[in-house]
Amino acid sequence: MDYSWDFGPVIARFDMLAIGFLNTIKIAIVSILLGVVVGLVLVLMRLSPRKWLSWPAAIFIEFYRNTPPIVHFFWFFYALPVLLSVSLDPYVAAVLALSTQSGAFYAEVFRGGIVSIERGQWEGARALGMTHAALMRRIIVPQAISRMVPPFIERSFELLKTTALASTLAYADLLYQAMMVNAETFRPLEVYTTIALMYLVLLVTASQLARLAEARLTAYQ
């Protein structure tokens, strides 16, 4: 092969890639935070003894687990506006898609952590006279959190990678910006190699941070 690499044009437009990089981080963080909220609401509903709460949550979760992520992006961007008769900004649609998706998965992560706590812990707390709310807060959730951390982190990495789908809605994330730079420079090899490396740096850094957090949250064991 006699392809001659030339990163010059890419470096010249690196400002565009930097914007995309920051947008990817921004949308990931916002979606993780909102996803946690969605996940908490869903898990509370899912674990409720009331069927009219647990059923909708279970259906919602199953729906998201069994449909392709890109369909959620399209649904929020193209379909929801038909219902609401307002058009959604690509960023808003992408955040909605990402946070509901991750919320569905986080709910399962949270539930897994909670149901993994032995029956004896529930009984020990109940026998002391604790209310359900108190025993969740004091006994179950603190122990469940340390078990939730590894799958939570794994799920968040999935989300971080899924943010690239936001480019299909023309949101200026790292992938979308790369497509723009490529359209200007006609250097796909350099452009996409560069952003692959940028994603790699982002995920490796995030995994280092996650490992620190994990060590702190599981300290007592």
Partner: protein, 256 residues
């Protein structure tokens, strides 16, 4: 006979089609120590767990200090959480598997009920917890994690945790059954000490020798009913019922 503090009337418990408790009427007076014996799966734990509503009753009534537990409205009895929590504060329980909270130190385990349930200030709770731990001989271990203790020590912490709530009645469900034989003694000594204090206790146990000395009354549970009830001498030494005799024979000799 003293006024009963705990009364059980027409108690039935079913798990689906499985009819475990089939009509139990019984009362416990203050200061009584009741040992419950019976074969495995005969419903001893279920009976004990009905006393503090860890199991819901299928039928029957439980009265504590002359007041029926539950709220009756149009013939339907409901058990509001608040009421059951209040009952559990007054009827403490010690489990076979200790059920200590592994994310809290020994001291925090014993303080937990005082702070979270009774709403006591931490300083005061700490004081009481230290006293209770001293009584069970674990002053040295207050800052240890439960996972680091022997089974016997863990069970003594669990007893201190139950005692901290100042319960009127204590329920023990085979407190020594999961302990290595050499650790059984230290737990039984603590329970004996509580007997000397005159506490009201119900104990499910297979330690028949201990039951003989400990109990003021022994119950043999079989076929979902109290098959034989009497003093330790009556039930353990001179049982009248054939079922009781057979059960005791299978245990072989035990030292009194």
């Amino acid at each position: 006979m003293q006024k009963p503090i705990l009364e059980i009337k027409g108690l039935h418990k079913r798990f689906g089609d499985h009819h475990v408790l089939r009509g139990i009427d019984f009362s416990v007076a203050a200061g009584e120590r009741i040992a419950i014996i019976g074969g495995s799966g005969s419903g001893k734990s279920t009976f004990l767990r009905c006393m503090n509503f860890m199991e819901t009753l299928s039928e029957g009534e439980i009265w504590l200090d002359g007041k029926r537990i539950g709220t009756e409205r149009n013939g339907q009895v409901t058990y509001p959480e608040r009421q059951l929590c209040a009952v559990r504060e007054r009827v403490g329980m010690v489990f076979q598997q200790f059920n200590l909270f592994p994310h809290m130190t020994v001291l925090q385990n014993v303080m937990e009920g005082l702070v979270t349930v009774k709403g006591m200030a931490r300083e005061q709770a700490r004081e009481i917890a230290l006293q209770e731990l001293d009584k069970v001989g674990l002053s040295e271990k207050v800052d240890a994690w439960p996972g680091r203790l022997s089974g016997g020590q863990q069970q003594r912490v669990a007893i201190a945790r139950a005692l901290s709530m100042k319960p009127e009645i204590l329920l023990f469900d085979e407190p020594t059954s999961s302990l290595d034989p050499e650790l059984v003694g230290e737990v039984l000594r603590v329970i004996n000490h509580l007997a000397e204090e005159g506490r009201t206790m119900l104990l499910v146990t297979h330690e028949l020798g201990f039951a003989y000395h400990f109990a003021t009354k022994v119950i043999f549970l079989a076929d979902g009913v109290f098959h034989e009830v009497g003093t330790p001498d009556e039930v353990l030494k001179n049982p009248r019922q054939a079922r009781t005799q057979e059960f005791l024979r299978r245990f072989g000799e035990f030292a009194f």
